[in-house]
């Protein structure tokens, strides 16, 4: 066995390169594009729904069709758009922020992506099948999701989520290990950038929250495909079990989405206020506390199920408690800006727009958490308004902030600031216009998930306004798309440190070389790069001499493995045994192949490094 497996660095075509890559920076780009694609799909679904609801008794999308739209919109947005976009940023930034050359499990990283991608594709393929898309809401409550009531769409939902959920779990473990084991010398936990911290915490949440979903999906799958009776009341089943399992997962899931966004803001706001983050330690603590509490509140989605006043009260109190750590964060951001020098870059605009929008959504969350009030709010448009405020005003704004902020690091080009600001303003206005009126709609008696409403219930005006808002968001998205295309066509080249950044990722070239850091940096405190800059250094102090760098080899196996499970899923849905066997064979076979063949990787030698002269 030779240690000199020479440089597998031949030029390959781009497609093959991306299919086989195990480089976290490229995987980030894969996540980014897949996530954006599904964001567009989910957005179009949203706009179609809003068109149907624009006027009373409209008949554009009626009954099942509308239910399919809303199910696919919710599912796509949460699982196939927001999650991968979060993972895109994590992949792009975390290894760079902690001064690592790579993630802990490059191979698994790629596997995680492909599992997600095939899962998402699977679910979306349902549109083109005779059974149609799932029509059960993103929460897929039993027994509506049982074969007695709905067709193969529900199977697509179950299997698609199962696949992509496995991918997410793998991703979570990868990031946990990466952050625990791969930090550069001096990068103690209490010096980690906040985005890394929040990502670390959500990875732990993923670890604990996804298995209940997995189990729930298995039970549902067994009920649907193999005649089990978990949710079949006539055979002794219990429909509430699904609700518990789903929300034990579902509630932490919303924090899995929002915490990384919080992390992004904690990077963006200090950078563009030219000030270190106010109350760093309490920020970290608030993050862990939110994560801790997030497992104790799932019943607030089930206040009307009839669990009794004792359970309701207690989960109410536990839920409202989350306002405290969240409030700590909000005020810390405000006081980061206090006394700073605030620059209105596009990235920062998103962060600034986030603060009032999210707080607005957060406080309606607290209102929802009061059971007597929730008896009115629950399953009404008030809830829809709440979660779009936190999700759009929090998660989506966070993703955009992160994207405008790290785009130069990811692609080496700068997005156009003018278009960026236009994108922001259209989105901001459209967003408030679309969702603020939905609060009133809910209180005025409009249930959610209805494909229409009757005339003469005074619901017309606000629905109309809401739809206009959604259309404006659509225009905003088109502006964003133009910006991206323009940047690819003739983007401004980005310097290594375009924003006068504070953390390690800005100390290396944009885009970074495949090995990230030529020499692992030595970290001397919070905002490591800022410290160096303040000491007059242009670069980080290295923690090791220049030496050979070991890199993992690319591999097509993750793709093939995921493809195998993807194929097998069709076998399950249509009860075709050979297809199941072939698919599982491919999947397990590539697992075996991976286990048998050790990846020795390759080395980049010192002379090459010097040649590149970075």
């Amino acid at each position: 066995m030779s240690t000199h497996v020479s440089h597998a660095h031949k030029k390959k075509n781009i497609l093959w390169d991306y299919l086989t890559t195990v480089d976290h920076k490229k995987i980030a780009i894969l996540y980014l594009f897949a996530g954006t694609l599904f964001l567009l799909i989910g957005g179009i679904e949203a706009i179609l729904m809003r068109l149907q609801l624009m006027v009373p008794e409209n008949d554009l999308f009626v009954g099942t069709t509308f239910n399919q739209l809303l199910t696919m919109h919710g599912t796509t947005m949460i699982f196939f758009a927001a999650m991968p976009l979060v993972f895109a940023l994590m992949n792009a930034a975390i290894p760079l922020q902690i001064g690592a050359r790579d993630v802990a499990f490059p191979f698994l990283n790629s596997l995680g992506f492909w599992l997600f991608f095939f899962g998402a594709t699977l679910t979306n393929i349902s549109w083109f099948t005779s059974g149609g898309a799932p029509e059960i809401g993103w929460t897929a409550y039993a027994p509506l999701a049982l074969p007695e009531y709905t067709g193969t769409g529900s199977d697509y939902y179950v299997l698609g989520l199962q696949l992509s959920g496995a991918g997410t779990l793998i991703g979570g473990i990868n990031f946990l290990v990466t952050i625990i084991n791969m930090r550069a010398p001096g990068m103690t936990f209490m010096r980690m950038p906040l985005f890394t911290w929040t990502s670390f915490v959500i990875s732990a949440l993923i670890l604990f929250a996804f298995p209940p979903l997995t189990v729930g999906l298995f039970l549902m799958m067994f009920d649907r495909l193999f005649g089990a009776n978990f949710f079949d009341v006539t055979m002794g089943g219990n429909v509430i079990i699904w609700e518990h399992l789903f929300w034990i997962f579902g509630h932490p899931e919303v924090y899995i989405l929002i915490l990384p966004a919080f992390g992004v803001f904690s990077e963006v706001i200090p950078t563009f206020s030219k000030k270190r983050l106010f109350g760093y330690h309490s920020m970290v603590f608030a993050t862990t506390l939110i994560a801790f509490l997030s497992f104790m509140v799932w019943v607030h989605h089930m206040f009307t199920v009839g669990l009794g006043p004792v359970a309701n009260s207690i989960f109410a109190v536990a839920t409202t408690a989350i306002a405290v750590p969240t409030g700590i964060k909000v005020f810390n951001w405000l006081f980061t800006m206090w006394g700073g020098r605030i620059q209105f870059t596009t990235a920062n605009m998103w962060a600034l727009g986030f603060i009032p929008s999210f707080v607005m959504g957060g406080v309606t969350g607290v209102m929802l958490a009061l059971p007597p009030a929730d008896f009115q709010f629950h399953d009404s448009y008030f809830v829809v308004a709440h979660f779009h405020y936190v999700i759009l005003g929090g998660v989506v704004f966070g993703l955009f902030a992160g994207l405008y902020y790290w785009w130069p690091k990811m692609f080496g080009t700068l997005l156009n600031e003018k278009l960026g600001k236009l994108h922001f303003w259209l989105m901001f206005i459209g967003f408030h216009m679309a969702f603020l009126p939905q609060h009133w709609l809910g209180l005025m008696g409009m249930p959610r998930r209805v494909y229409t409403y009757l005339e003469g219930q005074q619901l017309d005006t606000w629905n109309y306004v809401s739809t206009i808002g959604a259309l404006i968001m659509g225009v905003a998205t088109i502006v964003f798309a133009i910006n991206i295309v323009m940047t690819f066509v003739k983007g401004e080249k980005a310097p290594a440190d375009p924003w006068d950044g504070r953390t390690l990722e800005w100390s290396i070239p944009s885009p970074p070389p495949e090995y990230n850091f030529k020499q692992t940096p030595l970290v001397k405190g919070i905002d490591a790069f800022w410290i160096e800059k303040m000491q007059g250094n242009k670069e980080m102090t290295p923690a090791e001499p220049l030496g050979d760098i070991h890199m993992p080899s690319p591999s097509i196996l993750p793709f093939i493995m995921s493809l195998g499970f993807f194929i097998a899923s069709f076998g399950f849905i249509y009860h075709v045994l050979p297809v199941i066997i072939i698919g599982m064979g491919i999947g397990l076979g590539s697992m075996l192949a991976r286990s048998l063949k050790d990846d020795l990787g390759y080395h980049i030698h010192t002379d090459e490094l010097q040649e590149k002269g970075v």
Binding site: I180, T188, F189, M190, A204, F208, H244, R276, H281, V284, F285, T288, L289, A291, F292, L293, F295, M296, L307, G308, V310, A311, I314, V317, A318, K524, G525, I526, D527, W530, I531, M534, Q535
Partner: protein, 308 residues
Amino acid sequence: MLARLQLFGFNELWNPILIVITVVLAIAYLVITGPMRHRFTDAGPVPIYKKVLFLFGLLLFYITLGPLNLIGHLMFSAHMTKQALLYLVMPPFIFLGSPEWFYKPFLKVEPLKKVVRVLTHPFASVAFFNVLFSLYHLPIVLDFIMTNYALYNLYHDILLISAFMMWWPFFCPIPELNRVSELKKLALIFANSVLLTPACALIIFAGEPMYATYTDPVVWSQALSLCLPFSSTLDVSGFGGPQLFALFPPLQDQQLGGVIMKIMQEIVNGTVLGIIFFQWIRSERARENKLASDNRMVISPATGQNEV
């Protein structure tokens, strides 16, 4: 209900023997941390707040094993309150209240040290306590244990010991034995919360009263007579059933019990999370300062980086 408690005598309700034990323990503590301190090596003075913590722990000890123990046989929610206080709240207070030097002599004894080491293996002890605790609350197990004197005492002693073992890694009084990193402690707290959830959830969401001890008059009075202090001669068979004392209907009482357990545990774990976290910050600061002075990596005051 409180008035009905008069049916029990002073002896049954207040358990004088336990008072004596508690007082003796308190005096012993005060003597050891006070006049007898100098018998111990490296024995620094014990600050007042520590003494208060310890004595509060002892107070909890008495309340839970005394009056609450009795009421806990009448009402499930009181039973859960007792357990939460005894296993989740009391041990941290005892640990926080006892000075480091107090343990040292014991742990000098090599075999003892080994035993402690094994018993307090962080993940194992957390798992052990939670499993033991969850098992206890399975209806059959609880009903069985509650009506069996020897078993009852044995199980509770083991639970109490395992609770101390579980808390040890978090509050380990002796730095040398502290082998768990702060990150792991955080993970342990998470694991702790997760592990207890199924038991609580099953109790909270059960659709009907599950424990014969709190619903069936025969089992009830059997269990009750066992829990009376052994100096008691009260005959409870004439009391009728649990309904006599109940504040709530059995189902709500049971739910409340589960909820109390859950909420107490959340508060305790949340607090401990905070304590660990701020210890962590402090130790990192200390390390940073030490590094700074060792390596002369002084951070320039111009940047204001390390302003506190």
